[in-house]
């Protein structure tokens, strides 16, 4: 093995895990080494595999993800609650639900991007409302104490109890907070912006290439595994 190639692969790895861009615009020499030098590519892929990370290329740029269940590079639920600014587990799951609904605003399936440049909080609320409909209907037919802790009805009840905006604030000056639907969605977006998935400008959330790289590649590659998780074949959900 050529030591120069090992150095290059390690350099790419280090840059990627600290969130720096390796692309045809930034760190061009390293990106070219990844593209054209098979040894650099092999070493990098091997290090990433051993670290349980997946690499995706999108628009001449490289992105990594820890996937789910990565104990070293992934967030635990408690850490996520702290980063997003939430207190309760059900709030965290509501945040996950909203994030998934944001994906739905851009993609029907991983192969067709909707060509939408940006979304606003209001659209996310409408989308979440519509996805929540089924759980809401089930919730209305039940006594409150009969709702199971991990049921989607818990999220529906939490979501339904929130006002659109707090009574003392108007929409434009509204801050990200847990007390209202708009505030909650803003809280989620703040987190997504910090994860390099979106960019905010005048209340519009523009999708960044990292989001597209993962939405179009990760989900496609892990399709079978995700389906077996949600249909209960692969493992129990209580990881």
């Amino acid at each position: 093995m050529d030591h120069g190639n090992l150095d290059k692969a390690m350099e790419i790895f280090t840059l990627l895990i600290v969130g720096e861009e390796v692309s045809s615009a930034q760190h061009v020499d390293l990106y070219e080494a990844y593209q054209n030098n098979s040894e650099v590519y092999d070493i990098l892929m091997s290090i990433l595999k051993k670290s349980n990370l997946s690499l995706y290329e999108f628009g001449s740029s490289l992105y990594v993800t820890a996937g789910d269940g990565n104990r070293v590079f992934g967030f635990t639920n408690d850490e996520l609650k702290r980063v997003i600014g939430l207190r309760l587990n059900r709030e965290l799951y509501l945040a996950y639900f909203i994030i998934y609904n944001i994906i739905l605003l851009f993609y029907q399936d991983s192969g067709t991007f909707s060509y939408t440049d940006y979304v606003r909080c209001e659209e996310v609320i409408t989308q979440t409302d519509s996805s929540m409909q089924k759980a809401l209907k089930a919730l209305h037919g039940q006594a409150l104490n009969a709702v199971e802790e991990n049921s989607f009805q818990t999220l529906a009840s939490l979501w339904e109890d929130m006002p659109l905006v707090p009574s003392n604030e108007d929409m434009a000056s509204l801050k990200a907070a847990r007390g209202s639907k708009t505030g909650f969605v803003k809280l989620v977006f703040n987190f997504l912006v910090s994860q390099d998935l979106f960019f905010e400008s005048q209340g519009r959330y523009y999708v960044k290439p990292r989001f597209r790289a993962l939405a179009e590649n990760y989900y496609e590659e892990n399709r079978g595994r995700l389906y077996s998780i949600v249909t209960g074949g692969d493992r129990d959900a209580s990881y």
Binding site: Y96, Q108, T116, L214
Partner: protein
């Protein structure tokens, strides 16, 4: 059918799609004019003409993107439009009201971040088709969102005044030639600017094709073909005209020096010369990019062919399934891959107590290990092996006993005995067939020799059997196997066995 009628139908059907694609770029303008400001704040700003505003904003973007070669940020647009509203519509409302209106207009121009969808019927394929177009595009650059005019936007703007010809660059070049000849050098610079904006449009168009290729390879390849046909075939002609014009400018410069033109005219010619050279460089760059585009498209096509059979993931379906399972914890696996890596490691407070009460090494006591029985694990394959050995031993015992009684024996007879002893279930027992396969590996068995030196797995079983036989009846048993492939032993649906004759040797 008469020829005229045939031509008529051909024109209607075959050319319809092309016409619709051409019309596409006009669609956003009329939609914007139709119903834009009458719905905002109870129609308070209805008097502001959206058509005029649209054209003005497009011109502003062409100026910034094509002539000044820079992207526009929202603030630039805001300043431009505020000035326009005050100047042309006597807009006198406060800052907040104008900011809201300007933002509303922007959202309309960008169609809330989505393309304008234009639906039309394709008579050839007998289906509705959807065309997409945008006037303005956004991109993320160095920490901010930048906006630029799209190629459709430029084309729309230019076509509102100029007629469409085969190559706009060539038309402009001829115009430039006329201007130079008539010594209208300032007008020549304007023409060059228009050439530049056409080059920029083609440049943008090729960028859009790259994006389209990554979204939908087939649509992208189609767009590339049209682009190559319409945009690139004029390159040679354009380049020749550029050379002619450069020559003309040089001549003009020479004549100006000889005939002692006014200093201002001299300056204009110098400026024209400079701008023409710049335009030629840009034209050259366009050619280079377009050549790369073809290579890029080929690579993308290859990649698309490779991944053609990969199935995409249906996001709505996955959510529906998760909701059917009714377990919100599933959401974690569905969304967490999007998050970045957690590289900042934190120290848990719980560990602090361990540190505070940390004892020095000599005080440490080792972990007490209680005495217990060592467990022996039995692995699955070991259990299987025990079963196989047992079954083979039973089968061998019958074979050996029969061989001790008879000099010769066939497999069909042996099989009959096995069925009698173990009933029909033996036919469903894999170990039986495995036994026969093992047995057929050799055509001679000497049990005395096998007892001391077993060679195969089956011989090991034979050796065990011989050693375990108290009467030592099997020790001297030797037998040969004669294979009779023509004779079949029918096993019904399970197939057949070919016969073997076992013959005892000696004794």
């Amino acid at each position: 059918m008469r020829t005229e009628s045939h031509i008529l139908i051909h024109d209607i059907i075959d050319e319809h799609e092309e016409r619709m694609v051409n019309l596409k770029k006009f669609y956003p303008f009329f939609r914007l004019c139709d119903h834009s400001l009458n719905q905002f704040r109870e129609g308070r700003y209805e008097r502001i003409d959206m058509g005029y505003v649209t054209m003005a904003v497009l011109r502003f973007f062409i100026e910034e993107n094509s002539f000044n070669d820079r992207k526009v940020i929202y603030r630039d647009y805001e300043n431009f439009l505020r000035e326009l509203l005050v100047r042309d519509f006597d807009f006198e409302e406060d800052e907040d009201a104008s900011a809201a209106l300007i933002q509303y207009i922007f959202d309309k121009l960008t169609n809330e971040g989505r393309p304008f969808y234009f639906e039309y019927y394709d008579p050839k394929k007998r289906c509705m088709k959807q065309g997409r177009t945008r006037l303005l595009e956004s991109s993320y650059q160095e920490g901010e969102i930048c906006y630029s005019i799209s190629s459709d936007g430029i084309e729309f703007y230019l076509e509102t005044k100029e007629t469409k010809e085969k190559s706009r660059i060539s038309i402009q070049q001829i115009l430039l030639e006329k201007m130079i000849c008539s010594k209208n050098f300032r007008g020549g610079v304007d023409v060059i600017r228009r050439i530049n904006s056409e080059v920029t449009r083609l440049m943008l168009q090729q960028g859009e094709i790259v994006t389209l290729l990554s979204h939908n390879i087939f649509e992208g390849m189609e767009a590339l073909e049209t682009f190559s046909k319409k945009g690139l075939q004029w390159f040679d002609e354009e380049q020749k005209l550029f050379d002619t014009n450069l020559e003309l400018v040089k001549k003009a410069l020479l004549r100006a020096r000889e005939e002692h033109y006014q200093p201002q005219t001299m300056e204009e010619i110098y400026y024209l010369n400079q701008e023409l050279k710049k335009a030629m460089d840009r034209h050259e760059a366009l050619l280079k990019t377009c050549t790369n585009l073809q290579v890029q498209a080929d690579e993308m096509m290859l990649k698309a062919k490779r991944s053609r059979f990969r199935r995409t993931m249906d996001f709505s379906d996955l959510l529906r399934k998760a909701m059917e399972k009714d377990d919100i914890r599933l959401l974690e696996a569905m969304t967490s891959p999007l998050f970045g890596l957690k590289i900042r490691k934190t120290f848990q407070f719980g560990r602090l107590e361990d540190l505070m009460t940390c004892r020095s090494e000599d005080e440490e006591t080792g972990e007490a290990i209680p005495a217990g029985d060592e467990e022996t694990y039995v692995f699955e394959d070991e259990t299987e092996e025990v079963r196989i050995r047992h079954n083979h031993r039973l089968l061998l015992k019958i074979l050996f006993d029969l061989l001790l009684q008879r000099k010769s024996l066939t497999l069909s007879e042996l099989h009959y005995f096995y069925v009698m002893k173990f009933t029909d279930t033996i036919l469903r027992n894999g170990d039986y067939y495995a036994f026969l396969v093992h047995l057929s590996q050799k055509d001679y068995y000497d049990l005395a020799h096998i007892r001391d030196d077993p060679d195969t797995f089956l011989e090991e079983v034979m050796a065990e059997l011989v050693r375990g036989n108290r009467d030592k009846e099997y020790e001297d048993l030797k037998f040969i196997l004669e294979f009779l492939p023509e004779e079949r032993i029918d096993l019904g649906e399970r197939g057949y066995l070919t016969n073997i004759r076992f013959e005892r040797q000696g004794m």
